[in-house]
């Protein structure tokens, strides 16, 4: 039965089959056009930075496995950075536990600013040189140092004293160049997607050492080991400043360092990360050396007089599997050399 309607009468302007088909066809066409337009305009890969090649998923695992599988840490009190470093490394089993003959070592320093070492905004050149010499003494085939300060890298390495220190210690200096950056997409990453990272500096590298000062950071709360990996990013990385905790968390998964050296000899308590006044610095006379970057930062927070809740990326990095926020679980060796 084909009843025109249940009620038996037809209202003016009611739908005919032809109207319905027309409208359904128009709506479908609109839907498909919108979808097709979106799909056509969507750039899933993003722009390719500099030297192309395959998209990386990380910069490597340079960690040294211990028998227990547990991270290690030494906290040394003193004023002589080189002596403190030596004692810390000895306490962790000696440099040979980390660097073997023939290793090619990359030291990632903080050389982000063209400021003198006295202002404490960058890795101390004497401490860096001491680390480079330890590696070479252990038989490392090469030691190189790098960072990617966006503004005038040559000037940054020169003024921080790191270029001269590298030269004196026999280490090579890698100045970032456009061809050294390759796109990287961190598995599961939301921010590190097709982003240029300084992969060229890692070519042939077998060990990675991260060295940073303990500093206040206006945006992140603190700048230590994990934040220092920001210097491996290329491009207009300031787009990440609004998601600073998220990007540092992803950076914690970018590479697993062999050793982390966190310099709290003088701590930038205020106006970081650049500082500027010597009154921004406070002597904390402490050097933290650890295989666990998250634990190193967590210990550094105490020098910075901050709590872990004030610097959210540390717990986020722990949750991501980059290390331990409770650094006491590493049973740190504590040494006092006297100030």
């Amino acid at each position: 039965m084909n009843k025109p309607s249940d009620t038996g009468h037809r209202a003016e302007g009611a739908l005919t089959r032809r109207d319905f088909i027309k409208r359904a066809a128009a709506a479908s066409a609109l839907t498909l056009s919108a979808g097709a337009l979106y799909a056509g305009l969507y750039d899933g890969r993003g722009p390719q930075p500099g030297d192309l090649g395959k998209v990386l998923t990380g910069l490597g695992d340079f960690s040294v496995q211990t028998a227990s599988g547990q991270g290690r840490m030494a906290i040394v009190r003193g004023a002589d950075r080189a002596a403190m470093l030596e004692r810390a490394v000895t306490a962790l089993g000696g440099i040979e536990a980390f660097i073997q003959k023939g290793d090619r070592v990359l030291i990632k320093v903080n050389a982000a600013f063209a400021t003198p070492p006295s202002l404490g905004a960058t890795t101390n050149p004497e401490l860096f040189a001491a680390m480079a010499r330890l590696c070479l003494a252990a038989g490392a085939a090469s030691v190189t140092v790098t960072d990617n300060p966006i503004n005038n890298p040559e000037s940054c390495f020169a003024l921080t004293g790191i270029a001269e220190a590298a030269s004196l210690a026999g280490a090579g200096l890698i100045i970032p160049g456009e061809g050294m950056f390759s796109p990287l997409t961190l598995p599961g990453g939301k921010l590190l997607v097709d982003w240029p990272v300084m992969a060229g500096a890692f070519k042939g590298v077998t060990k990675l050492i991260a060295m940073a000062p303990v500093k206040d950071h206006a945006r992140a709360g603190a700048s230590m080991i994990l934040k220092n990996f920001y210097g491996l990013l290329g491009g207009r990385r300031n787009v990440f400043h609004q998601k600073i905790a998220g990007i540092i968390t992803e950076l914690s998964l970018l590479a697993k360092p062999t050793l982390c050296v966190l310099d709290g000899t003088r701590v930038m308590l205020t106006n970081g990360p650049t500082g500027g006044s010597l009154s921004d610095l406070k002597a904390a006379d402490t050097l933290i050396v650890s295989t666990d970057p998250v634990a190193a930062d967590a210990a550094g927070l105490e020098l910075l007089e901050r709590t872990i809740s004030e610097v959210p990326y540390i717990r986020m990095a722990e949750a991501a599997g980059a290390g331990h926020a409770d650094y006491t679980r590493l049973n740190p060796v504590r040494i006092n050399l006297g100030a």
Binding site: N2, L15, A34, N151, R236, P273, T274, S277
Partner: protein, 355 residues
């Protein structure tokens, strides 16, 4: 056979039907579902937008990529031919897009406070001394903006400088504002010979950068609530201006604060003059809601000024007041007694000055 013919009960020709059949409805819903799916897909993709694309869009054309340090600013001549010093390099200019290239994470403080451009130049004593000075001149949107970045970084315990109304020096550096400019002169050491050059260098820059009459030499004191703060108990040099997001409350800007030490207790006074009374009322309500959402609870207290609201959370006290366009109060007082006493003085002063 058409799937529409029977169940839809549609008729060919001009005749109309009065109701929509189940199959029509299903087909309509299907179209709507597809539309919603497309919308959901678009919104999801939008929320996960590739940061590399965002950066590329901001970066502009390839020939404009390396914009850090363009020597193009009206301020650059001010850094030429300064007495007693020689330039170590040319001046470099940084704009809103490149400021973080120079000062990294500290850029946000400037960008949220009305930053226009910054000129930097390294200098050395003319006598060939190995010392170094880095001069940073920040051109801000207004004298208030300059005061905001000046006060936001003020080093506690620093010595006041007579150079300008807003000036202080530390062992190796001099910081001051002049008009809408904020200046930093940073030496690489605190040796006396170096330190002694800071003030003359600052004075020379001040002479070059002082605004001409009518350009606005200082902050707009007429509309500034800075003068409303009670002087008694105020920590010297603690007056600050937050241009945005004061106390973590999004959008709460142009808020002056000052720290107080009151008989063993500590507190911060705050004041903001809004464009009209309605906005003052709105921000008071917003801040109250913000505090309540963050664990504060309203309390009653004796001797509170009329209309004041007091709140407490774990031994920390807040007092909120409003007077016409002025929203002000006491923030994070460590004792209720101190909060109430400071609020009473503040209210009295505000009532007199806001008449």
């Amino acid at each position: 056979m058409s799937t529409l013919s029977k169940p839809l009960r549609l008729r060919r020709g001009p005749k109309r039907i009065t109701s929509v059949g189940a199959a029509e409805r299903r087909a309509g819903y299907a179209v709507l579902c597809v539309l919603l799916a497309v919308l959901a897909y678009a919104l999801t993709k939008q929320s996960q937008f590739n940061p590399a694309v965002v950066a590329a869009l901001r970066e502009g054309p390839a020939d404009a990529k390396k914009t850090s340090g363009q020597p193009a600013s009206e301020l650059t001549p001010a850094l030429d031919a300064l007495p007693g010093v020689a330039a170590l390099a040319g001046a470099e200019t940084f704009g809103p897009d490149t400021l973080s290239d120079k000062i990294d994470g500290k850029a946000e403080l400037y960008l949220s406070s009305g930053f226009k451009e910054m000129v930097w130049r390294p200098l050395a004593p003319a006598g060939g001394d190995k010392a170094r000075f880095d001069v940073y001149v920040y051109d801000m949107a207004s004298p208030d903006s300059a005061f905001a970045v000046f006060s936001g970084q003020r080093r506690s315990g620093a010595a006041a400088s007579g150079l300008t109304e807003n000036a202080y020096s530390t062992g190796n550096a001099l910081f001051f504002t002049v008009g809408a400019r904020y200046l930093e002169i940073v030496a690489d050491s605190d040796e006396a010979a170096v330190k002694n050059l800071l003030e003359p260098l600052g004075a020379a820059l001040l002479a070059k950068l002082s605004p001409s009459p009518g350009e606005g030499a200082g902050r707009e004191t007429q509309s500034s609530p800075a003068s409303l703060f009670p002087a008694q108990g105020m920590t010297p040099g603690s007056l600050r201006l937050a241009m945005a997001d004061a106390f973590g409350l999004e959008g709460f800007g142009n808020v002056y604060t000052a720290d107080y030490a009151l008989g063993g207790a500590e507190a911060t006074g705050f004041a903001a003059i809004l464009p009209d009374e309605a906005q003052a009322r709105t921000w008071k309500q917003n801040y109250l809601a913000f505090l309540l959402a963050n664990g504060y609870g309203e309390i009653t207290a004796q001797d509170l000024p009329e209309g004041a609201q007091a709140l407490e959370s774990n031994g920390v006290f807040e007092v909120l007041l409003k007077q016409g366009r002025l929203f002000y109060g006491i923030h994070e007082a460590t004792s209720l007694q101190a909060a109430v006493a400071l609020a009473a003085t503040f209210e009295k002063q505000a009532r007199e000055k806001m008449r």
